[in-house]
Symmetry: C2
Subunit: 425 residues, 2 copies
């Protein structure tokens, strides 16, 4: 039976999960996959942690060279996170001809081109299913499951922390700060939640997934990104009354040579398949020209789900001699003729605080009309003596038109926009 040596760089949460899966299920993989996966080396500076996981003394390496020049190591798993050391280690491994499996979304989003070139030079493999949506095989699906399709649209809930927060806000009527504090207490959010709640994490993942789906490199810098820290319980209640659920979405579209990528909170119709993806679950909804709509759903993070993706990549690498790169033929660099859309189109939910005077609604409507924004739904309710809350849902229109209209309305003394959210479909 083919024996394949694996090294793990970093025994944190994901590295530890990967080590456990590989060692506990070695016999299972021999039986079901016909391959003998052996952990030959780990690089972990905290030796106690490695020993506590059961790693034998002699397999704990103290530097990257010991790992990559170990002839028994065929596949190197990078799960240390961060970018600088990870990039150096991965390049060293690839240059030594080792196949690399990584969960590092920032690394892949920023440096996939460089890493893939190094891999191809040495005929080594480069796999990164675990960098996006945990154990859900979205990358494998794009590469080997729906690759016959021209993918025109992807929409995903690809960050578990924000989905957990929004689910709690919707279910319990909590405010953002309250829900965040609860998520932090339960370990669903980090002490500094910026990467999640401001959408950076989703933007890296979207840049990777959109590159594969749209067959052109989508740099993370091209992703329009808006965080969810201003979302209020009132927005969620308003949306609910109108038949919407609020989600932190990653959206990608390709029409001809126009690619649009964005991460922001957005309302979804309650019967959209993504609307019932709750708690820390993730899902990606894709539209292809043949397959139509499909959705993949599961856990986007955690030691074992992410370990599942890493070990699935290891098995793929160990049993496939070709197709060594988690990439299509032409996604290493952006096509020259691709343009990234900044003035995208969407429907909008706008909540204004307005004075309770005659003529206010008609003056607001007139601003919308001048910006060619067509109104789909409108509701008004008393707020406090002398002021009203006005909620407007628009038909699809241009982002810049909405911003300009809202700026005009804010400049009037009788109205102020309290919330601007997009409505996806």
């Amino acid at each position: 039976m083919k024996k394949v040596g694996v090294a793990i760089l970093g025994l944190g949460v994901v590295g530890g999960g990967t080590y456990r899966i590989l060692t506990e299920k070695r016999e299972f993989y021999r039986e079901t996959q016909g391959v003998d996966l052996v952990v030959e080396s780990v690089l972990e500076l905290d030796r106690e942690r490695a020993l506590a996981l059961g790693v034998p003394q002699e397999k704990i390496a103290s530097n990257i060279a010991e790992v990559v020049y170990n002839p028994d190591v065929n596949i190197v798993v990078e799960v240390i996170g961060g970018v600088e050391a990870a990039r150096e280690y991965v390049l060293t491994a690839l240059n030594a001809g080792k196949t690399v499996v990584t969960s590092n979304k920032e690394l892949i989003s920023k440096y996939s081109h460089e890493l893939e070139r190094a891999a191809r030079r040495q005929n080594a493999g480069l796999y990164y299913e675990a960098s996006c949506v945990g154990g859900v095989p979205v990358i494998r699906t794009l590469l080997d499951g729906v690759q016959s399709n021209c993918i025109t649209s992807m929409m995903g809930i690809i960050n578990g922390t924000t989905n957990y927060i929004l689910t709690r806000m919707a279910r319990e009527g909590l405010g953002y700060e309250e829900a965040l504090a609860e998520a932090q207490a339960l370990g669903f959010a980090e002490a500094d939640p910026t990467a999640d709640v401001e959408g950076y994490d989703s933007a890296y993942k979207l840049s990777i997934l959109a590159s594969l789906a749209f067959h052109t490199k989508v740099p993370v810098a091209k992703v329009f990104r808006e965080g969810m820290t201003n979302v209020s319980a009132e927005d969620i209640r308003d949306g609910e009354a109108l038949g919407y659920v609020l989600k932190m979405l990653a959206i990608g579209k390709r029409t001809g040579n126009h690619v649009e990528v964005r991460v922001h909170p957005a309302f979804l119709k309650k019967d959209h398949p993504l609307a019932s993806v709750n708690d820390s679950f993730n899902a990606v909804h894709l539209t292809g020209d043949s397959v139509g709509d499909i959705m993949l759903y599961g856990r986007g993070a955690g030691a074992l789900p992410t370990g599942s993706a890493i070990v699935s990549d290891i098995i793929y690498a160990a049993t496939h001699g070709e197709n060594k790169y988690s990439t299509f033929k032409n996604t290493a660099a952006a096509d020259k003729d691709i343009s990234f859309v900044s003035d995208f189109k969407s429907a909008y939910y706008l909540r204004f605080s307005v004075s309770d005077e005659t003529g206010v609604l008609s003056r607001i409507a007139s601003v919308f009309g001048k910006h060619n924004i067509s109104i789909f739904e409108i509701t008004q309710r008393a707020k406090q003596p002398g002021s009203m809350t006005l909620v407007i849902v628009t038909h699809e229109t241009h982002e810049l038109a909405v911003r300009s209209a809202v700026a005009k309305i804010n400049a009037m003394d009788f109205a102020r926009a309290e919330s601007i959210l997009r409505v996806a479909n």
Copy 2:
């Protein structure tokens, strides 16, 4: 660029869709996949149909030999359906060293072992993603996406016709016959709906998917199968009131060497991810030891979704020299030590018509007690003067115990079971 010749056996709905995808997107596949897929031959007795699709005269073969001995043909797509001719054609193609891609669930469910042996002898490939759940890449996911997992459970809505009927019954309060007639009028159900509504179609698919998920051949004869023709609008209303949605489910479980496979209508809690899979959509929910719960959702049938799976298999075959079989190392035959569970466990929904007399409930409860069946929920309502409707939802218990208890109760003159449905979780 690598050129790969494709032949299509049968230009019906799926064959026609496949032909259209391959010819319209040839340039797209050259660009994105680096492979030139050329339809070299079609076998279609109705020449007019082939010509109407735009197949050139000279590419219309009149017998299977013309196709499989054509040196320009590398991959043969079997989409004629049925079993006898399909089996003969597929074996002929494999014996001639051609890779085969098929959407034929009955063929694969019954003869995968024989076909795979033939394929291996000639170093040909055998792929059948399109046989299960249309364009949703469930097989690819099992093989290359979550193969690191020990899959313990699968639960799927894998027949679009029955899901459409049940969705209409739930939404509009239609009876079964009414909803079926509507589905037939709209082309969602065939004139003879037996294969769908009696669960045969789902049973073939389940046998294929369970074989892959559980690493052992699951013969279709081992699938417990119960149709949905007795499901009533009343059951659906009752379930709704209790927080359940009724779906036609395919369920597979493996615990140690025990494999359980069954197809029947069942109630699901409203917040289960499968509960919101409506209309003719399909979905498969899998539980793995590392990945936890994942679900794949999409269109289970239709020319283009099924064509998507076929063409994805063609591209996989054209670009992967290894991994030629949509199967694991040891699923060609059932393991000798596997036992198939017939007395499975489930929760149950039972609706009785009972006389409105004192002591009835206690006598029914006593029968349940004697069979070790524990009651989870019970509701009683007036039916007509002198008789009541009694709905009982049980905790998880054994199928045979429920059947025996119901037979005992039916033998009493004051009660009659009107409906017995399982409750899945």
